[in-house]
């Protein structure tokens, strides 16, 4: 084989492997999309062609499933978590990034470490405490536990973004007469805005997909979408078309959010180091 | 050791033509410098010789072999990269030894001896156990050199090897390179945008612009006999004065009707006159070819660079460092009528009179 055709062969082989890998990654997602539009009968056959129907979506939002309630819960919990976590984390990250403090490394490592603690360890005391103070099955309770997951991650990630902002602009503003707080408000916040939005979206995705805490703490009133999936395990077996429709409602908004922040994806993930 | 031959090589990325049907014959043992501004295609040309870039068309020959289909490892050339390309996880010794180890061209037992020899040539022996990150810029540069000279390749390829060094070190390393290339006598292609490097190191210089070599010649030819406006403008510091105007009766007249100097050509309706700063002399007002006002006078230490306003034109000339001028002062300019060049502004090419 000549060098040129050998090169061509390798190029084609690589493309084929990539396409197969992508197929393995994407086909399950597509499969779920398809199942969500299949009728109850079609879903139990390996059919590619079928008559699409929206009835599954109507069913999951209707009684007894009432997925709408879960959607509202998920949205409120995730939004509130982000709304608390990002401002608090931003202030801390700025300080970690720009000042040297006593015990700074210890604090940062501690924050990082809490990230890696298995959720089952911290959920037990929360369960007991919530039971005593009546926070079980409330959205407030869920926001509190979600903060445990999201905060350390947000601090590390935002710190990374602020580290990347050159300090000159801030120094120029201070020479021009700004106080430190004015600098944060007028210089750092606008410059870090893309990073803050990225971090916010990451935290939102994490809170939205959170499972274990919601499983243990919620019961009826404050059930979130991932837990809502369990509703479709019926006596006669899983209701796959409904599960798929619910699945789409869970993942579609996250797909959109993930695509918005795709440019900062890797950077953010390695800095936050969490899922 | 070998001759390198490029036959009509072209490199295109989409619509962008980096190198345009360039042919070049580099003689055995020659030190050839490719000189040009960034983006002119000089590095791409070198990378095609190394095999790091595949030509879109044309042939590359090293020795008596067409190497288009050969991988870089099979071309037997050594390369020094702009950022050195040192292996950060290996000691200096292992960096230098790597090409020998991987090629198995010499018995393993001889490797230490050869590495030491190469290290000695570039004065690196005390640093052999260090990692690249523990070295200064100049030392890293030497490691890259040692890695190239540790074996005897067909040719050396050097891609702006001195550009990351500070000015002083660059001068020192330049001399060392010159010495080394004299000792080793191996065909070398050297890419740079620094004309002094080109002038001092080269046997021949190829001045490149927009994907083509605009003039190929000895440093002397390039400096004293530029073939076109681009080369005339690119070589020399301060760069050559290029004055627009026309020629009437062997006399050059600027666009705002100043008569400057006699020329070899009799008549040109449109012309660009090229004069080097050192070929214009400042004399008392009224006693030269033309008068002008001092716009700026810069003392560089070794001489004074004078910028003169002449109607709408500015002309630079170099004067003796002891002469002082004040801004706005009127002075006379005397041109050396044997040392000027005429160019055709429409093609940019040099215009030579038949007898010249």
């Amino acid at each position: 084989m000549s060098a040129a055709s050998r090169r061509k062969f390798w190029r084609t082989a690589q493309a084929v492997v990539i396409v197969i890998a992508v197929a393995i990654m994407i086909i399950p997602i597509i499969w779920i999309f398809m199942a969500a539009f299949k009728s109850h009968v079609d879903v139990y056959q390996l059919k590619l062609l079928f008559k699409p129907t929206f009835s599954n979506f109507a069913t999951v939002f209707a009684s007894p499933y009432k997925l709408g309630d879960k959607l509202v819960n998920s949205t409120i919990v995730a939004t509130t978590t982000v709304a608390i976590a990002i401002p608090v984390a931003t202030l801390a990250s700025y300080s970690f990034s720009r000042f040297r403090m006593r015990g700074e490394t210890t604090m940062l490592v501690m924050i990082l470490a809490t990230q890696f603690v298995p959720a089952v360890v911290i959920v037990l005391p929360f369960f007991v405490m919530f039971r005593d103070v009546g926070l079980l099955d409330t959205r407030t309770g869920l926001v509190l536990v979600n903060l445990a997951i999201v905060m350390p991650f947000a601090i590390w990630m935002i710190k990374g973004f602020i580290d990347g902002i050159p300090i000159d602009t801030e120094e120029a503003a201070m020479v021009d007469g700004s106080t430190r707080l004015q600098v944060i408000r007028n210089i750092v916040l606008p410059m870090a805005a893309p990073g803050l939005i990225t971090s916010g979206i990451f935290c939102f995705i994490i809170a939205w997909n959170e499972f274990l805490f919601a499983l243990i703490i919620t019961n009826k009133e404050s059930v979130t979408l991932p837990i809502g999936l369990a509703l479709f395990k019926a006596e006669e077996g899983d209701l796959w078309n409904l599960l798929s429709a619910a699945g789409i409602i869970i993942m579609l908004p996250m797909f959109v959010l993930a695509l918005i922040i795709r440019r900062h994806f890797v950077q953010g993930m390695t800095m936050g180091a969490v899922r | 050791m070998a001759r390198i031959l490029l036959k009509n090589i072209t490199k295109r990325w989409g619509d962008f033509v980096a190198v345009d049907r360039q042919s070049l014959d580099i003689k055995d043992r020659e030190f050839l410098v490719l000189l040009g501004p960034s983006g002119c295609g000089k590095t791409t040309t070198m990378r095609m010789i190394a095999g790091l870039e595949e030509p879109t068309a044309g042939e590359v020959w090293i020795g008596d072999r067409m190497v288009n289909d050969d991988l870089p490892k099979d071309r037997d050339v050594a390369m020094v990269f702009q950022n050195y390309g040192l292996y950060p996880h290996m000691s200096v010794f292992n960096n230098i030894a790597y090409p020998l180890k991987i090629r198995k061209s010499v018995p393993r037992s001889r490797i230490p001896e050869l590495v030491n020899e190469a290290a000695e040539r570039v004065e690196l022996v005390p640093f052999l156990h260090r990692r690249p990150r523990e070295l200064s810029g100049g030392q890293r540069q030497r490691v890259a050199l040692a890695r190239a000279i540790v074996r005897e390749p067909q040719a050396f390829l050097m891609d702006e090897p001195l550009s990351n060094l500070d000015a002083k070190l660059r001068v020192t390393m330049r001399a060392e390179l010159k010495h080394l290339s004299h000792e080793l006598q191996i065909t070398t292609v050297y890419v740079t945008h620094d004309q002094i490097e080109a002038m001092t190191l080269a046997d021949r210089i190829g001045v490149m612009n927009e994907g083509k070599i605009r003039q190929l010649g000895t440093p002397d030819e390039i400096y004293n006999d530029p073939a076109n406006i681009f080369v005339a403008d690119f070589i020399g510091s301060p760069s050559m004065n290029l004055i627009s105007g026309r020629v009437e009766g062997h006399q050059f007249v600027t666009v705002d009707r100043h008569e400057l100097t006699r020329t070899a050509m009799g008549a040109m309706s449109q012309a660009v006159l090229g004069v080097r700063a050192e070929d214009i002399h400042v004399v008392a007002a009224g006693s030269g070819d033309v008068d002008g006002q001092v716009y700026a006078a810069e003392n560089t230490g070794e001489n004074v660079v004078l910028t003169l306003q002449l109607g709408g034109q500015r002309i630079t000339c170099k004067e003796d460092r002891y002469i002082r001028f004040s801004i706005g002062e009127t002075v006379g300019l005397k041109f050396d009528s044997n040392k000027n060049y005429l160019f055709d502004p429409s093609t940019g090419d040099r215009v030579r009179s038949p007898g010249n």
Binding site: I18, M25, V121, P125, L144, R180 | -
Partner: protein
């Protein structure tokens, strides 16, 4: 206000939140682990036991050791497979170009899927009657046709591993692409000119320079494999029997299903021990990288 005061004020709210939501429960759960703590009985926690809960788990409970084994094998397999496959995919995708860039964008999608949903999907895919993967495997390896995957201990475990690997490959691939792209191109080209073949360049130049990123990726993945819960819960719920019961699932089951909170807390704390080592290693790597 002086910076010296301000800098502590700025971190204070964050430290309080982290303390209240993570550190305090951690300490609290350690306290539980020293007591007899039955949720179902009044006066929780009941009697002080010292380390008896720990001793009990380590000496008297085969179910605990079963989930240790499940978690260990699960971790080794998922870390090994995910990292190896992600590295391969990253190498294929790193050259860039429009095709490869759009593939990289697609890889972000599986990341946004919740692990619970991944669990559900895989249960769907491996349904013996109408699962897509089941049909595919049946086609390629006929003995596997129409097998009830999730009722067989070994196959169920395999499906759990596959789901995990499937969910993690895209993210690790993207991280490794980042790592590969950060390797100076001229070191690779220098090796090519020096005479190294494709494989030699990979072995001598690429891998050594990727090692720090690779280490981060391996530690990170190990941490998350060790605490896997969501997928397993939705996919097999630990079954059949306890064939896929990871430690997290074991803690959940004992603590909240059976109400043995003290005992569960002890097991949970046993899980924390390997985490401490991994976190220490991770922190060291991260700090070294940020300082460079």
């Amino acid at each position: 206000m002086r910076d010296n005061t301000l800098k502590y004020l700025l971190v204070l709210p964050a430290i309080l939140v982290v303390f209240a939501t993570a550190v305090w429960p951690l300490i609290q759960s350690f306290r539980f682990s020293l007591f007899q703590g039955r949720l179902t009985r009044p006066g929780f926690p009941q009697g002080f036991l010292g380390f008896e809960n720990y001793v009990w788990a380590l000496t008297e409970e085969p179910a605990f050791w079963n989930s240790v084994a499940v978690t260990a094998v699960y971790t080794v397999l998922t870390v090994g497979l995910t990292v190896a496959l992600a590295l391969g995919l990253a190498l294929l995708l790193v050259p860039g170009g429009r095709f490869r860039m759009s593939v990289q964008t697609l890889l972000i999608l599986p990341f946004a899927m919740s692990p619970a949903l991944i669990g559900v999907s895989f249960r769907f895919m491996f349904n013996p009657e109408f699962g897509l993967f089941d049909a595919f495997f049946g086609l390629v390896i006929p003995p596997l046709a129409d097998i009830s995957w999730l009722s067989d201990p070994v196959l169920a475990f395999a499906v759990c591993v596959m789901a995990d690997v499937w969910g993690w490959i895209p993210f690790l691939t993207l991280v490794l692409i980042g790592g590969l792209a950060a390797i100076p191109r001229d070191t690779i080209e220098a090796a090519q000119v020096d005479g190294a073949s494709g494989w030699q360049v990979f072995r001598d130049v690429t891998i050594p320079q990727l090692l720090p990123v690779l280490a981060v990726v391996i530690i990170l993945k190990s941490i998350f494999s060790l605490k896997t819960f969501d997928q397993i819960y939705m996919l097999t719920n630990g079954g059949p029997g306890t064939a896929t019961q990871t430690l997290s699932h074991y803690v959940y089951f004992n603590g909240l299903k059976y109400g043995q909170l003290g005992y569960s807390a002890a097991v949970a704390w046993l899980m924390v021990i390997p985490m401490i080592f991994l976190t220490y290693a991770y922190a060291k790597l991260v700090f070294r990288r940020t300082q460079q």
